[in-house]
Amino acid sequence: MKNVYSEVSANKLKTYFIVTLFFIFVSFVLYVLGKSLGYSGPSLFLFAFLLSFLSSFLSYFFSDKLVLMIHHAVPADRKIHFDLFTVTENLSLAAGIPKPKVYVIEDSSPNAFATGRDYNHAVVVATTGLLAIMDRRELEGVVAHELSHIKNYDMLLMTVVSVMVGLVVYATDFFTRSLWFGSRDDRESRNSNGVFFILSIVLSLLAPIMATLLQLAISRRREYLADASAAYLTRYPEGLARALEKLANYPQTLRTASNATAHLFIASPLKADLQGKSGWLNNLFSTHPPLKERIDRLRQM
């Protein structure tokens, strides 16, 4: 028997599992590369970590302002965007968090996203296209999904994950470079670890892809979790299910969407994902689970 509570806890558990897997994976990659690099390993990895940490946390701290700027978002007006404004107010009451800032993007394709590093810097954004096609209950579902991302600290989680992805990418990159520019000492120590050397070459090709796949798996898990939390918050899963159905049937996609900001939205703003080309390969590389699957799960709650 599925209900909202079991759905929420199952998704949390699966996130923990994938994140643990991720840590083990990263440690393994660094261990193998370190073994075959010899002495210069640790300092290179520290450098890779700092680089990755810096870029991810810069985006963590400035994402709210940056994303609003990229998408030309303007603050919502209580009179004009009455439903969006009040629904956000109401659901923050239910979630027991301060009301986030509400913004609107002038764009006829329907979509919404939330960003900001914590409750006090949270922002909920909707396009005018979304406001045009959703009724109040459906809008509640969408906003509840976004508030759940904020309440579940998904920004922080995804930042930590992207630090680890960056670490793997930089570390393997440094490794392949060191093959060309390594000193004689390094080469000699490498020869003594033949197995590790071959393993490192394989890993330096595969690890970045695997890290990205794990990152996407976590992202999809958080989408399911936000759906379940939204159902819990509104006590009305059908509202969000209907909203997602409308999004699935809408032909147009967001003009300013790109791979860089795709993971933020309620439904993937990219064309291929929306058209439901849900081959397993496409699913594997998508930030969001297929809409049909999400709707089915909501209807079962």
């Binding site: 009455f82 009040t86 629904v87 107010e89 109401n90 659901l91 009451l93 239910a94 979630a95 027991g96 006590r235």
Partner: protein
């Protein structure tokens, strides 16, 4: 020598456990209080909207006296109510009275077309949502307090602290039913 240390250790552990449980319950109780004041804010919001609404409707439907009287009476009952139970009853009464007010408004097309009335109706519907959501937040806080207090082994010690089980804020069955309008 040895058994004394074990006994002392156990007493310290028990003390820490009792302290932790007590503090946790105090935190949960304060959250309930905060959630309750959240409900009161929304109830106040609604009572503030009502005089305006009544005077607007009066302009079009003067002779529906009993409806206005009911709303005004229920409104003052909400304002003077104390505690969860009383507030709950008064609140349900007011919701019922407002429903019949809107049912009356249905038969006055001029009133329905009035933008002021439409705005008030929208605001009131939104306030109803706000009350419902604050109530939901309040109830989830009550749930976590009651769960903590009743789980074993907490249930053995909690009565000693003098904590009582907290009341849920329930909705009247009648309120969830659609109103019947007789013509």
């Amino acid at each position: 020598m040895q058994p004394i240390y074990i006994v002392i250790g156990l007493i310290v552990l028990l003390g820490l456990y009792l302290m932790g449980t007590y503090n946790r319950l105090v935190v949960l109780l304060n959250r309930i209080k905060e959630a309750w004041s959240g409900i009161e804010v929304q109830l106040k919001r609604r009572t503030d909207l009502i005089p305006n609404l009544v005077s607007t409707v009066k302009g079009y439907a003067k002779h529906e006296k009993s409806v206005f009287e009911n709303v005004t009476k229920a409104r003052s009952a909400v304002m003077s109510a104390q505690g969860v139970k009383e507030t709950q009853e008064a609140e349900n009464m007011l919701s019922g009275a407002l429903k019949s007010l809107f049912a009356v408004a249905e038969s006055y097309p001029d009133l329905k077309a009035n933008t002021n009335f439409q705005d008030l109706q929208k605001e009131l519907a939104d306030t109803e949502d706000k009350i419902a959501y604050s109530r939901q937040f309040y109830n989830s806080n009550v749930l976590s307090f009651n769960n903590t207090a009743k789980l074993f082994p907490n249930n053995l010690f909690v009565p000693l602290f003098g904590f009582k089980e907290q009341e849920f804020f329930d909705v009247d069955e009648k309120e969830t039913q659609p109103v019947k309008v007789d013509f």
